[in-house]
């Protein structure tokens, strides 16, 4: 495709890391680390911040806050529903509670308590959902929360934040601590690329352009935004297609102007998120487009199914969330923009389904090929990982 833009390529004013595409030099940290750091920092400035945690102090990274301010930490045990409403009570008495658990339990389990006692009450409670997305990996579907963005963004009074790396999660945590009223902050367990810097602009409710391009726009949120940048780079190198890449870190209130500009200027949109493709970021973008500038759109997200156990990268790939599938979605949206006919089921969906079958066969075959004699296989029992010498 002809380059039809004056300006394309990475946005220098976004101050992304220099080693953006250098796999060896690029740092990887879990976004939950940024939450833990931001929380301690916010707690220093605001004595009203209290943290409630449902028996997951270390893994949701509120341990540092507990150690720094032990009298402002409340252990709830395994009671997320009560936690949400106890936090609402504390907020009504003047505190700013952060409630911390896995996203599948909070807001997964305590959604109604959040709806009534936090959102409808309009209390100053911040919901921190850790281990969101399928990248929790081996824990499986019960713990892979992919519906949270959808269920939280439809709640009046609630604001929804999905930061893309540990640095942005820290900024988002500090920003949330400055806001009054209900907020939901979503982050993940696994290490993911740290591709923004301290200088990268961040403002609540304002989307940031990380890459310029006028052929189409990829709007992403969360750690998968890095995959969007990879896909954009690939499309530029291999096909001369220039994608705009937008970080929609605030799902609500959404930056309508950024979506409208992208629609008017590029005429085609792909959304990318580690959540159900229905209702989340894709939902808000589709709604905005339909109400303003309807242009063609494709979604990269979890395709109306639950996740499953597996290595985090494998699960992301098998569900079609990585760069090659984003590139396929971009290709499809361009074909539609040009008025060409496309298959009824998108190629990025069918390709992921095929890839999933192949990957699972390979992975299970490899594991079963190492079955020891005691479990009916051919390998000596001593070949088990647990029995090998160091």
């Amino acid at each position: 495709m002809k380059k039809n833009t004056k300006q394309s390529g990475l946005n220098r004013e976004a101050w992304l890391v220099r080693e953006l595409f250098d796999e060896k030099k690029l740092k990887h940290l879990p976004t939950r680390d940024g939450f833990g750091e931001g929380l301690v920092e916010a707690g220093k400035g605001n004595k009203n911040i209290v943290v409630l945690c449902a028996d997951l102090t270390e893994s949701t990274r509120v341990l540092a806050f507990k150690q720094a301010y032990p009298d402002r930490f409340v252990q709830m045990g395994v009671s997320e529903q009560s936690m949400a409403s106890i936090a609402a009570g504390m907020a009504m008495a003047g505190k700013m509670p952060f409630i911390s658990s896995y996203a599948c339990f909070s807001p997964g389990r305590n959604w109604e308590q959040i709806r009534t006692t936090v959102a409808l009450n309009n209390t100053n409670v911040k919901v921190a959902g850790a281990h969101a997305g399928v990248s929790v990996g081996p824990d499986g579907a019960t713990h892979q929360m992919v519906e949270d963005i959808a269920i939280m963004r439809v709640m009046p009074n609630m604001r929804v934040f999905v930061p893309c790396d540990s640095i942005e999660t820290r900024k988002a945590t500090l920003a949330v601590a400055k806001l009054s009223g209900p907020c939901y902050l979503r982050f993940a367990r696994e290490k993911s690329p740290v591709f923004t810097t301290l200088k990268t602009p961040y403002k609540v409710g304002r989307a940031e352009i990380y890459r310029h391009g006028n052929d189409l726009t990829i709007i992403g949120s969360g750690p998968l935004l890095y995959e969007a940048l990879l896909a954009a780079e690939m499309l530029s190198h291999e096909h001369g297609i220039e994608c705009r890449v937008v970080n929609m870190h605030t799902i609500k209130p959404v930056d309508v102007k950024a979506i409208v500009d992208a629609a008017k200027q590029t005429g085609a949109i792909v959304t990318v998120e580690e959540a159900q493709a229905a209702g989340g970021l894709a939902g808000v973008v589709a709604e905005t487009l339909a109400l303003t500038v309807p242009v063609v759109m494709e979604r990269v997200g979890v395709p109306d199914r639950f996740g499953e156990s597996g290595n985090p990268r494998e699960v992301q790939e098998g569900l079609g969330l990585t760069a090659p599938f984003i590139a396929l979605a971009a290709d499809r949206v361009l074909q539609r923009k040009l008025g060409n006919t496309v298959p009824a089921i998108p190629a990025h969906v069918t390709a992921a389904q095929e890839r999933l079958v192949v990957m699972q066969q390979e992975i299970l075959h490899e594991a079963l090929s190492r079955t020891p004699r005691k479990w009916g296989g051919k390998k000596p029992d001593a070949s088990l990982k647990s029995r090998r010498r160091d």
């Binding site: 102090t57 395994v78 529903q81 081996p138 499986g140 579907a141 499953e308």
Partner: protein, 299 residues
């Protein structure tokens, strides 16, 4: 309102002969070894709870439950609900030993495409009655099954294994209120009382004692037993079967990490497996020698 107290009166004799007891104990120690081997292959998963519950799972699958591993969906099977889904590794290994699926599948725990998910899923592995992991909902599902069994005059019983940590969750008590009101004598709750949860001991995090009194005040029959003694546990189940007007809660005092001394009683082993190498070898050595009390000819 159906008359729920006039259900089936089938009671199976559970008397445990010494010979059977010995074979169950041997089975439990094999299962503990397989458990460590499986967890180390997976590289993640829970250790302490599964080791502590090995004896109870062996007792259930090889003595107490009326079930048919070749027909996991047989209508009149007893239902074993695992509410604290994170201890599923012990259920998986015991099910493999009982013949629900080939043991080689233990190599695939938590791997992409495996029926052995990190937390158990009903839709993926026949014989797993409910999908669980998020705590507190197993007791309600158990109660729903037991209520229906009485309603339809079915002979099968419901056993619900729960952790002590999940007693923090309000839903558990909602289910127990229902069980108390409806005299669900066909329902037995088995509490893995190992005194640990993720962040620390249960009594630090959210004190549960006096636990017996709490359950009794919910109109439930309470039996306390040593969870690492198969005989004591089977006796507790017999006592549950002997009560025909109340649901029973068996509080099984277990030792988390039982059989591997460096894990025992330590909440830090709640959610991780031993690392491959000296750590896992030590665990297997401890299990084989009863922590050094038995020495083999080769040593």
């Amino acid at each position: 309102m159906p008359n729920l107290t006039k259900g089936p009166k089938v009671r199976r004799p559970l008397h445990l002969h010494d010979k059977k007891l010995k074979s169950l104990e041997e089975r439990a120690s094999q299962i503990r070894e397989d458990l460590i081997d499986m967890l180390v292959e997976a590289g993640s998963g829970h250790s302490a709870g599964p080791l502590g519950m090995a004896d109870i799972f062996v007792a259930l699958y090889f003595h107490v439950l009326v079930h048919d591993p070749k027909h996991p969906d047989w209508n009149d099977r007893d239902r074993l609900i695992l509410s604290n889904g994170h201890i599923c590794p012990i259920r998986y290994v015991t099910m493999a030993h009982a013949g629900y699926f080939p043991k080689k599948m233990l190599m695939t725990l938590r791997k992409f495409g495996s029926p052995l998910q990190g937390h158990p899923e009903r839709e993926r592995l026949p014989g797993v009655e409910t999908t669980s992991g998020p705590l507190g909902s197993g007791s309600s599902q158990a109660v729903g099954l037991a209520y229906t069994a009485l309603l339809d005059r079915k002979p099968w019983r419901v056993y619900c294994v729960m952790s002590d940590g999940e007693l923090d969750a309000g839903q558990t008590w909602e289910a127990l209120l229902f069980a108390g009101r409806n005299n669900l004598y066909n329902c037995t709750f088995i509490i893995d009382r190992n005194n640990i949860q993720i962040d620390g001991t249960t009594e630090e995090i959210m004190p549960l004692e006096p636990l017996t009194a709490k359950f009794e005040s919910f109109n439930l029959n309470v039996v306390r037993c040593a969870g690492n003694s198969i005989r004591d546990f089977v006796t507790a189940v017999e006592r549950a079967h002997g009560v025909s007007e109340k649901a029973t809660v068996i509080i099984a005092d277990t030792i988390p990490g039982y059989g591997v001394p460096y894990m025992e009683h330590d909440f830090l082993w709640h959610g991780k497996p031993p690392s491959p190498g000296s750590e896992s070898q030590q665990a297997i050595h401890d299990l084989r020698t009863l922590a050094g009390r038995i020495t083999g000819e080769h040593e």
